[in-house]
């Protein structure tokens, strides 16, 4: 396997929602240009953990974080501005959420926050992003149509293009295909495989088949008797799904509990 550098280093991460301990002592590393899947039963904190990487938990009141996450060696909570962080770490959500604007303006929204572009520059950026998201051919003739007039699968690819337009290093995906039909799902999955050559992707999914299809590394989370989420094991996807080290992982992937 390629000798990829370590992009994210998570050490002893703990998270509280008010008094409730949501995540306990998480330690893991994310390699660059890889796809990492977070799997586990509902409520185990995998989406919460995903949101730690771009500090979206900051938007919720009463959230407290202990431990460190370093992006390329920089602590993202102490030494980095959330806005700068989110420029490098983008996110695609479970339910497609295009802005009620034209397709063009949707994609241009992100870049315009940081710099003033000329019309020609903007067109170039938008085209590149839409092409990377495999949407350009379908919408190039109607860029001024409202983004919400697209189908579900197209909307999700639009959201992906929107994220790609700011040229992040990392793309976080929170169950990106759970609201889509199988064909749209397959398209997004094949996109993930293509995109990993240029980006690092972390995907939360409750669909194990999806995790085994697209990811290189898989991290398995569980919830303990105190309703606190923790990391059980993580490693190469082939290993996790072929012969996991931990019996709890074995039981989960065999469908012994949901």
């Amino acid at each position: 396997m390629k000798d990829n550098k370590i992009l994210f280093e998570v050490e002893n991460l703990n998270l509280w929602y008010g008094a409730s301990h949501a995540l306990k002592d998480v330690n893991l590393k994310i390699e660059s240009n890889s796809v990492t899947a977070f799997i586990g039963p509902s409520g185990c904190g995998k989406s919460t953990f995903l949101r730690v990487f771009n500090r979206m938990n900051d938007l919720i009141e009463g959230v407290k974080i202990e431990g460190s996450i370093k992006l390329n060696g920089v602590d993202i909570n102490k030494d980095l501005n959330p806005m700068d962080l989110r420029k490098q770490v983008g996110m695609v959500f479970q339910k497609p959420n295009p802005f009620p604007m034209s397709i063009f303006n949707n994609v241009a929204y992100g870049p315009r926050l940081y710099k003033k572009y000329s019309k020609a520059e903007m067109i170039e950026i938008v085209e590149k992003a839409l092409t990377q998201a495999a949407l350009w051919d379908e919408v190039k003739d109607r860029l001024d149509r409202n983004g919400m007039s697209l189908s579900g699968g197209q909307q999700q690819r639009l959201c992906l293009a929107r994220t790609l337009a700011v040229n992040p290093e990392v793309i976080l995906m929170d169950e990106p295909t759970s609201a889509l039909d199988p064909i749209s799902t397959a398209r997004i999955e094949s996109l993930i495989t293509t995109l990993k050559e240029s980006y690092t992707i972390i995907i939360v999914t409750h669909n194990m088949q999806q995790a085994s299809r697209v990811s290189d590394t898989t991290a398995f989370f569980l919830i303990d008797e105190n309703r606190t989420g923790f990391l059980v094991e993580y490693g190469q996807t082939n290993e996790i799904f072929f012969k996991p080290r931990d019996k709890r992982t074995e039981d989960y992937i065999s469908g012994k509990f949901g």
């Binding site: 771009n54 979206m56 938007l59 806005m83 700068d84 989110r86 420029k87 983008g90 996110m91 959500f93 339910k95 959420n97 295009p98 802005f99 009620p100 604007m101 034209s102 063009f104 303006n105 929204y109 992100g110 926050l113 940081y114 019309k119 860029l143 001024d144 149509r145 409202n146 959201c159 929107r162 994220t163 700011v166």
Partner: protein, 499 residues
């Protein structure tokens, strides 16, 4: 036992009936206002009878754009004697009056009016050659007397002249048994003409026999009790000049039907506190008031709503503010008027002015704007906000670029409600806006809004038709403001869509 399907059908019919009734009532009210606004009938009484056009051997014309369509003999006489300097008393036009007479017709006209030629000439009439008439442009305020059959340019229109009167012995108009005939309507006049009336008591008058006297014996009317005659006005005057007493004319009910709201009225400025002229200044003042109020209350209200939704922490203070807003929404408008009087007119020394009125109205509409804006802001999908923040936008950027555009429709409806309230407000503005009908020169000018005008028309005793035409204008104004505000917003949306 009614089964569920039948019950369902019955309820649907009931609902349909109720909504139909509501729409019908609405249409009725609107229809009535539109009708009265556009078409009025004024009831007055006048001396001359409504007859068919008299046979004159000259022709009378008025300026094309004048509203004079007919004249009675008495008015014409006054014109000839130079007593009429301005047409205001006859029509709503504030124009000076000029009488033009073609040279050849002077003597005819003079004898018709029972005046001497010298009297006519001495009272600054203008003598006119038909050829010179083409020089006179569309000025109003001219009456032209010309030869019969003369070709007159299109600047003038023909005027009907009525000169018949009903002459009665003054016994007919005495008070009798607490009753008195002051005027008769068309039907009663007809009956008289057809000899159907034998006794004046049939017309609510005294118990006297009605005796018809032909015109050439009009002098008899002065001596016979209960007698009457249909005569020319000139005969009546001549009889009076000859010293015949006890001659009176019985007034006739005169209904002037006509267009109430004219384009001219809309676009002319108001003069002499609304007695004359048009209404454009008042409309303009109303629009100024609305714009100023929205400029003040809009940003304040939207800003407060943004604060409440996005920034305020849940707690006692936020609850306190919300309660305060609700309270403010329920306060009667007259109290705002009083507050405005004390605070803006007196304390801040703005006096009766646009700014006092706007500030008062702003306070009144602020709760509405805050509430509707709050609802609109809350209804924005949280996912959109997440999406924007995840791209690196700050809270303010997200509000400005995503939340506000998404909630613009809701906010706009609040603004439109406020506009409607401002335009329709009377009580609060009476104490603060002023009452001048002139165009406001700056925000410190006193002025009057359209709804105030309606109120003041009634209290100042102006014709009620004006009230209806103002009311119609008010409705149209509100409609126009609503439609244009919506169109502007839609255009803004489209601009946002396109690149």
């Amino acid at each position: 036992m009614i089964n569920r399907n039948t019950a369902n059908d019955i309820w649907i019919i009931v609902i349909k009936l109720l909504s139909f009734l509501t729409i019908f009532l609405l249409a009725l009210i609107l229809g009535y206002l539109i009708f009265k606004g556009l078409y009025s009938s004024k009831q007055t009484s006048r001396t001359v009878l409504n007859t068919i056009e008299s046979n004159l051997d000259f022709e009378v014309y008025s300026s094309k754009n004048s509203s004079i369509k007919e004249l009675d003999w008495f008015t014409l006489q006054k014109m000839g004697m130079g007593e009429i300097k301005n047409l205001r008393l006859l029509t709503k036009e504030n124009v000076s009056f000029e009488l033009y007479i073609e040279e050849s017709q002077i003597s005819k006209f003079a004898s018709y009016l029972n005046l001497s030629e010298a009297q006519l000439r001495s009272h600054s009439i203008k003598l006119v050659n038909p050829q010179e008439i083409t020089n006179y442009q569309k000025e109003s305020g001219k009456i032209l007397i010309t030869k019969k059959g003369e070709k007159i340019p299109n600047l003038f229109k023909k005027v009907k002249v009525s000169d018949d009167v009903l002459v009665v012995n003054n016994s007919v108009i005495q008070t009798f048994d607490n009753k008195r005939i002051t005027k008769l309507d068309e039907k009663q006049i007809e009956k008289l003409r057809n000899n159907e009336i034998s006794n004046w008591s049939q017309l609510n008058g005294p118990d006297l026999n009605a005796l018809y006297i032909p015109e050439n014996q009009i002098y008899e009317v002065g001596s016979i009790e209960g007698s009457y005659s249909f005569a020319k006005a000139i005969s009546f005057e001549k009889a009076g000049n000859l010293g015949i007493t006890n001659l009176e004319t019985l007034k006739v009910v005169h209904i002037i039907k006509g267009i109430n709201l004219t384009l001219k009225y809309i676009i002319s400025p108001a003069e002499e506190s609304g007695k004359f002229g048009g209404i454009i200044t008042i409309i303009a003042n109303t629009i100024f008031l609305v714009i100023l109020t929205i400029i003040i209350a809009g940003p304040l209200g939207i800003g407060a709503a943004i604060f409440l939704v996005e920034y305020a922490k849940k707690g006692k203070w936020t609850q306190f503010i919300r309660t305060g807003i609700d309270l403010l929404a329920g306060v009667p408008s007259i109290i705002f008027g009083l507050f405005g009087l004390i605070a803006f007119v007196n304390f801040l020394d703005f006096s009766f002015s646009l700014i006092s009125g706007s500030l008062t109205m702003s306070l009144m509409v602020l709760p509405t704007i805050i509430k509707t804006s709050e609802e609109a802001l809350k209804s924005v999908d949280k996912e959109l906000i997440s999406g924007s923040r995840a791209l690196g936008a700050t809270k303010i950027e997200t509000i400005w670029k995503v939340v506000l555009p998404s909630s613009s429709k809701g906010i706009l409806s609040g603004i439109i409600l406020s506009i409607g309230r401002t335009v329709g407000e009377t009580a609060a503005l009476i104490f603060t806006l002023g009452s001048s009908t002139d165009l406001a020169k700056n925000i410190f000018s006193s002025s009057r809004s359209l709804s105030m005008h309606i109120y003041l028309i009634i209290t100042e005793g102006l014709p009620i038709n004006d009230a209806f035409s103002s009311a119609l204008l008010l409705i149209v104004l509100v409609l126009i403001i609503n439609i244009s505000t919506r169109k502007i917003m839609e255009k803004g949306q489209k601009k946002n869509e396109r690149q």
